[in-house]
Amino acid sequence: MSFFSDENTRLAEEIIKRYPKARSAMIPLLHLAQEQEGWVTEAAMAEIAELVGTSSAEVLGTCSFYEMFKREPVGKYLINICTTMSCALMGAADLMQHAEKALGVKSGGTTEDGMFTLEGAECQAACTEAPCLQVNYRHRYRVTADEFDAMLAELSTPDPGVPEHGVLSQIRQHIPEKNTVGALPPEEVNAPPVWLNTEEDQS
């Protein structure tokens, strides 16, 4: 039984082909796995190991290094409240406190209905719009307590316009077969690219 769906297996192969070495596809494939299941399962890691030609332990090593990969199920919406300096100066602690109360979970927890996971996060690159948060990595700026409550209500509607956790970019890069250069393993490329004046090489 393979972990990836047929469509995702095809996508995985397409992604691997973009890189000179298959292992480079490891993080994109972990994202793909998380997109499929909402989190990264052991079966996913084992299959990715096979796809990129390494051991499961190596995939676990990479996967566990990066915070976005969840190795346990999380809520449909992951709410990350920024707690770093600019947001902290502008009231992040109050926002967190409010969020914990509103959701009835502590930071790190998931609501019983599996809808929301609340996390404190480090700088989200929206420092001038403090305090900010992200819902499944989509920003909300200058969030007040009321706005937070309104956001929860909005996210509880059937189609709030935020994809479920795991889906990151809703647009995939597609490199058309007809004009791709292709990725050769570096050991198979020994010459300068054709557009280069080779005299430059001798300098």
């Binding site: 070495k21 420092c127 403090a130 004009n179 791709t180 570096p186």
Partner: protein, 470 residues
Amino acid sequence: MSEMLGTEIAHAAGFIANETPRIVTARFDYEDSFTLERYEITGGYQALRKALQQAPEDVHKEVTNATLLGRGGAGFPAGVKWGFCPPGVWPRYLVVNGDESEPGTYKDRLLMELDPHQLIEGCLIACYAVGLSQCFLYVRGEMAVAQERIARALNDAYEAGYIGRNILGSHFSVDIVLHWGAGAYVVGEETALIESLEGNRGMPRLKPPYFPASIGLYGQPTIVNNVETLSNLPWIIDNGADAFTNIGTETSPGTRMVAVSGHVKRPGVYEIVNGTTTFRDLLYGQDMCGGIRDDNQLKAFVPGGGSAPWFTPDQLDLPFEASQVGPQGSMLGSGAIMVMDETTDIPAAALTLTKFYAHESCGKCVPCREGGTWLEQILRRVVDGRGSRRDLDLLIEVGETICPGDFPHAAVPSKGIEAKPFPYKMTTICFVGPSAFAPIHSALTLFREEFEAKVAGNDDRVLIEVPVNV
């Protein structure tokens, strides 16, 4: 493109236009700034056409002459960095560092979200000039919208023949691959970025070699450039190096994007003239931040992203010029200023940064892994009122194992403290460990009395934290 764009995005949140020459933010005023159509009708991809008419080495020369300093933090001239590729070693790669995560910083996110084609054109120019045969555009994982905008831009540019095989009918062929990060600050360090791109844990590589230009991705020569740096290239090629160097100072030409956040009236990202704009201009200028919120007093500001030693009002008149900021004890870093007004609890503010760097330590080298967390634990104790005077010294002593010797700091004329210039020594592999110490050192040096107030009354016995249910 019929593909759905995903969620609606608040337009240009945070960007504030002013009278400065606009080099990289010129299109930010358009609602559709990120589309190929807008890019093309505003002169987009003309620089690429112009570059393709020239010999690659001439394009390289133009960039070198422009003295385009890297905008990622280290400020190394891009043209010189490109020249570090060892001759005769192929293939060479371009890796775009879009993993912007330095506290306070978010110019690259705006450039990726609002003008992705400008970045793509910059990548193409760099690849053409240096003979880089593949480009990897590494975007921070948590920037879903930037990923969507870039994915769409790349798809459109491929369709239009700007990327791929025989670009615009020339011999120039290159693929640009969008790569997502997955949440690790340290990956912004260029060797960690390469590790991550190879599918590994994003841990910085050992130096030497000092530049990936000699040994980088897959051991091949690799240019790692910041998003803002590359976004400058179309303008430089369009307008020429001379036009670029006419802006700003001789050592720091052009403009820079700077994010000013915290306790100012109009926090925002500004494109400013490099080298001449002062911190006072930025914080108090009416076309910029317009002063401190509620007209409070300025207490301190972090001038160059979370890892920079802090400044106080005494340094307000320094210009945004590395050669002047360094001797005064700090650095410009990634173009981010965080402002603290008189109401700020300084030890707590320092903790928000120390906690960040301790959390973001990759764990590779001992001083950062162990020391960063330890510093956080001590400082937290102090902030919570459970610390002792001894802890204040301990903070410095522990920090000195990470950064032996004098640590840079600003002058405090009122206390008779003289500035200690940049840089510092370090026992770590990269700057994450020292960055955990920098806010502590600054805060303690500039505002020791606030720390003493926190521990006042506590005796010098160390309070032992007793864990529950161990």
